[in-house]
Symmetry: C2
Subunit: 737 residues, 2 copies
């Protein structure tokens, strides 16, 4: 009976909506007349955005080095606080006390066969006005262990697990050695982690000019790419275990929080790690002997890459100041008129490794511009239906600390109130990049449809669609992209402040930004400066405006919708794709393992190998069993049924269901979390254990398969199926309401 | 009735062959007892092979520079003549008078924005005893035009047609410019040809360290790869029009032959062309401005590659001594006891660009070792059933001159008498490489089955099969290779002396050699020396012995077989694969053209492009029509029918059919030859018009499709179908005999 009533109401609504809005103006969660009003609001919002104001904010907030714990870092937080207040927001600084190590001593030298002492210093450039400032953090990898080690050097390519498989075949053992790995292909923290797993006692990470230097393009200051002295700083906390303050997993780092002993923190490595420039890496790599590195390992330095080990010895000495320091988040609120306890949370970090004009200030400036515009609307009488919570996070760089501590500190409240978390970070010229919860994919498409790309004057959606088509590798994929309505949003891994919202709490999340025409090598270096930004990133700040529009419209649409604009059908479709990937992955693994074992058994590797190269065949692997995916497939069939037409059913306005709608994502959490990393509770999205930033979807299952833990794969299939079943039942109950 | 008799005879033969030979000892064309005798002969042949003697021959024949026309070149021919005579062969020198230009003046300098004068000289090295000798040809591209040009420089990647398509999109026009192209990806002569087609007035070709230098491996003399001064000499005659003396197409360059005016020779370019080292290329490339070169264009020099043009101007001045010079082929014969007018021809060239220890002497030494061993057998009483003709060609390097002139001079005789031509050239450590007429594929497999790889002690066939499996790109391809009986031989393009035999006359041909573990950068440089060879190519000369065995057994099996070992079923299977490729090519072209045109029409290229890079979308292309492949498919169906069981039918011994068997390949010639290059008459195999050495199979059809000449594709389908129909009818008549 209830259901019949529901459909009857739906029919009435569809018929009575008066002048029907064109399909390309429809807004999920809005009636036609509401959509027209919302569009007018967004148009007024846009009129309050100023590219020059964004440019001024970038210049001002990046004018000095401002890492977490620094005086200038605090000043930036206070500056942002004042800005929010001046825009009419209710703002405060919320401070946590977090561990943050800074270098006391950094020494890297080659002691044989010749000697070389690494420079470890990026020079000031006259073309870059802030590059010679005081207060810069030296080049280092945050969370490196203290250490003083001398050992033979081994080149390990990108330092991925498969690189060590090759080393094993080549008879090279890194135990007791120092390894040198290239930046790229994985998150930087994966490299020392895998090195440590294999017994290395130190790890050097360098930027090869192939990936991030003259091979990529003209180098700074002539061009945007890394010059020979440029160094990528960055965290190597093993945040795929958990992010935030390593001493306070699961709880906020308040002054009196219980803290782990640092040496017991499971997400800190035990070996010293240092990032260096290609100027410093070249003499070390050139001195290496041992086997010639395989083709795919070789970079763009002008000599033959060898693996070592041999006569080349290096001495790495690092010591850090392991202090607890204040971490200043700025939290600004604009109270909702109708649903004050439903929060639309929007965030970007404010701390930088050095000046951080791009990372994070370009995104921060866009966020502030949104707050300013909303403030203006507010002065004109606008009141959001729901509460807007705008956040400027501290301590993102060392490990998403500010956001994670705040989320952990307010976990229960956020699971009650947070409708969505909308993140941004570095921003530049180019294409819309959107990732997040797939129930929000339709919303993102509808927002993108209405925003004009500043360069091409088509919608940012159309431009991104064109890029998706052109970037597709095969004719088949190109055709699929061409025929697709709208764009797919990516799944979230890690690397910015959304992680704890989505993956720890199940708050529906989005990450928005522009890029792809702003490539360069300034990332985490002293050259991520305003001078760099205006030449190579977004010279007119028009993509700052585009980000303000994209994130601002998204926030406002969610804030004002009578019915929240979730589209669980898109979630279903996406997860269906993931499950297909997983079944194919299992089949492929089975087929390739059987084939490889046959090749090994039949001696093909020895016969096909260059006999002078002494490369052992790979070790055979246990046969891959057939895996029972039926629990997942059955769960998905249930989600299929319930999500057919589901958005339509709710589009008629059932405000009382909104809280259940935004809490639906929490059904996808598992209590136990992922194997060996219980902090990560989302069954669909997690950073990969060996990729770091890179996402693994349905991670419990996917990583068990990839790492050939068949029993665990079965358990994780059950866990993911249970989560999907929970969601399906939950949505069924909703649509019965 | 005849057919019935044939099958009855066959049945009798199969039943009466006595002790049956194991399947893996069977020899096509031999009865079991003949096979046993032949194997005993081959075992005795093998006993006469000496690796140290091969090493001595390599050392002696490569001890001085010995290019065509040089005194030392003549001395090498005389040395080889004496060797043949001493082995008991009837040998002579057959001399032609051919055009061969040598450099009089070579100047390359950058005149702006800075000045640089190219070294154009490979230094002598103390580690390489012959590298400082008198008599070396300087670094040059033979058949460059004389010229004195000064113009802005443009970097054109590998100088392929698709590179110019990109340049057009980037708005770069090479008309009136000098281009610089990398060696690799095409035969060197393709680069200036395409440059000239696009209006360039000069062409520089250099060896990038990515392809042939420190990126590939340690450089000479530390390792085998090209050092910064190394230069690849080489011919740029447009031999895909015709090879041999450019002045005497189709006829032998005898003293009184009618000669073309050099400036009218259709296979000579009009622009000056010079090869240089990466030491000389670096300052020029570094000085270029203009757009950054696309990823795939960038090499391993330590700076950002730009395309130009801009301020960088170069001056290229080249003058040559265009003399007619003697070209000394050595022809040695051992008369056949039963079929003296059936010739098994075996050849390798003797001329080198400089010392040529690898190219060509390593192959020449193996050939001489075969001649020596056969001479020994002869002294023991062995008489081949057919006549063996062993040849040492002069003038291969500038354009397959010696072999081509001899073949043109003896065309009618060869079409009557030549059963097969077996070629070799450079030889080194590694894997069997075999290409040629596919009716000989079974023979090659049976020969390879019986020869032991010196390093792995399995058969050279098993080793090559293993490599084929491991090199296959996909799981599917790996499985196909695994399930395949034996190896596929490749189709012949060009680049060595088989070309005129196979592609001009339709003499069944093979090219045999070993390699894959002998990579290096000595090719056509002064460092292709004995000192290099014994370190990096085949230190124990055991692959010299393996080549002697492979080519020697092949020659002897063909020479002694009562029924010639042709297997036209393999030819059918191979051509069937080609026809499938062609139909897929047409479908792919149709699909991708339609898709690309849609992307262009819908503006996707503009929208997806980096707006700062000013890259125009590609031009739309005419839609690809459906092509009627049925004539080819019907012809193939006929060949299918006739070749089923065909070898079995002949295996019973029908010696009177042998001449028809070896002349069968001539059925595949077309009188008209290929479009715009009538010298090439074979309808199945030709060097690609834009690949040079690289083969195009069913070239008339394939190149018409690739170059989108649809009408011509239809005509060439008819021509190829006619050839296949001729062969099918011819074989049908044979099996009715």
């Amino acid at each position: 009976m209830k259901k019949t009533l529901f459909y009857r109401l739906l029919a009435i609504c569809v018929c009575t909506s008066g002048t029907l809005l064109a399909q390309d103006k429809k807004m999920l969660g809005y009636t036609d007349s509401e959509a027209v009003r919302q569009q007018q609001l967004e148009a007024r919002f846009d009129q309050h955005l100023s590219s020059s104001h964004i440019g001024e904010a970038i210049k001002s907030l990046s004018s000095q080095p401002h890492h977490i714990g620094s005086a200038r870092g605090k000043a930036v937080a206070e500056d942002i606080l004042q800005r929010f207040k001046s825009y009419g927001w209710d703002a405060e600084i919320v401070t946590y006390q977090v561990l943050f190590p800074t270098p006391k001593e950094r020494l890297l030298e080659m002691t044989g066969p010749t000697s070389y002492k690494a420079v470890l210093k990026e020079p000031a450039l006259k073309e870059d006005g802030t590059s010679g400032q005081e207060g810069q953090l030296p080049t280092y990898n945050c969370w490196s262990a203290d250490g003083d080690v001398t050992a033979p050097l081994v080149f390990v390519n990108y330092g991925l697990p498969e690189d060590y498989e090759y080393l094993e075949r080549a008879g090279v053992d890194v135990r007791g050695k120092i390894v040198i790995a290239k930046y790229g292909r994985s998150w930087r923290g994966t490299k020392p982690k895998v090195a440590q797993e294999h017994g290395a006692i130190g790890c050097i990470i360098y930027s090869d000019p192939k990936d991030d230097g003259y091979f990529a393009g003209d180098v700074y200051p002539q061009g945007a790419f890394k010059n020979e002295y440029g160094v990528q700083r960055g965290s190597i906390m093993d945040m795929v275990i958990y992010p935030g303050d390593p001493l306070t997993p699961n709880v906020g780092s308040t002054a009196n929080a219980k803290r782990l002993d640092r040496l017991q923190a499971p997400n800190l490595l035990k070996i010293p790690v240092l990032p260096i420039s290609y100027h410093d890496a070249a003499p070390l790599l050139k001195a290496l002997d041992g086997p010639v590195a395989p083709d795919a390992w070789r970079g763009a330095l002008p000599f033959t890459y060898h693996i070592g080990p041999g006569k080349t010895k290096v001495h790495l000495k690092l010591a850090f100041d392991w202090q607890i320091r204040p971490c200043h988040n700025v939290i600004a609120k604009l109270k909702g008129a109708e649903e004050p306890d439903q929060w639309v949370v929007r965030g970007n970090h404010h701390d930088a490794w050095v000046n951080g004009a791009a990372d994070p200030i370009s995104g921060m400036a866009a966020l502030l511009e949104e707050a300013k515009a909303i403030g203006e609307l507010s002065k004109e009488g606008f009141k959001p239906r729901r509460t807007l919570v705008y956040c400027a996070w501290d301590g993102e760089e060392p490990g998403l600390i500010g956001s994670t501590e705040w989320v952990e500190d307010h976990a229960a409240e956020l699971q009650e109130k947070a409708v969505v978390y909308i993140n941004s970070d570095s921003n530049g010229r180019g294409f819309l990049n959107a990732s997040g919860s797939h129930a929000l994919e339709t919303l993102v498409n509808q927002v993108g449809r209405d925003i004009i790309d500043p360069q091409t004057k088509v919608s940012i959606l159309a431009r991104r669609q064109a890029a998706d088509v052109l970037r597709a590798a095969t004719v088949k994929q190109k055709k699929e992209k061409l025929s697709r309505q709208g764009i797919a949003i990516s799944a979230m891994g890690s690397g910015s402040d959304y992680s704890s919202f989505l993956q720890h709490l199940g708050v529906p999340s989005l990450d928005l930004g522009f890029g792809g025409e702003d490539a360069g090598g300034e990332y985490h270096s002293i050259y991520d400066s305003y001078d760099n930004y205006v030449r190579f990133k977004d010279p007119t700040f028009s993509y700052g405006v585009a980000l303000s529009q994209t994130a601002g419209h998204t926030a406002l649409r969610i804030a004002n919708a009578v019915t929240l604009p979730f589209d669980f059908r898109k979630l279903y479709e996406t997860v269906n794709g993931y499950v297909n990937e997983l079944t194919e992955l299992a089949s492929d693994l089975r087929e390739t393992t059987a084939l490889e074992n046959q090749l090994i058994r039949e001696n093909k590797y020895q016969l096909a190998a260059d006999t002078a190269k002494h490369l052992s065949p790979p070790a055979p692997r246990a046969a891959v069993p057939y895996i029972d995916f039926s629990p997942l497939q059955n769960a998905l069939a249930g989600l299929d049924t319930v999500t057919q037409g589901f958005s339509g059913k709710l589009a008629t306005g059932k405000p009382q269901l909104n809280k259940q709608l935004y809490q639906a994502e929490q059904q996808l959490l598992s209590d136990k979390g992922l194997p060996s990393r219980p902090w990560y509770k989302h069954t669909l999205y997690a950073p990969g254990f060996y990729t770091g930033y890179g996402v693994k979807t349905i991670p419990g299952v996917r990583e068990a398969l990839e790492q050939r833990r068949w029993k665990e794969a079965g358990e994780q299939i059950d866990a993911a199926a249970a989560a999907i079943n929970r969601l399906a039942k939950y949505l069924q109950a909703l649509s019965n309401n």
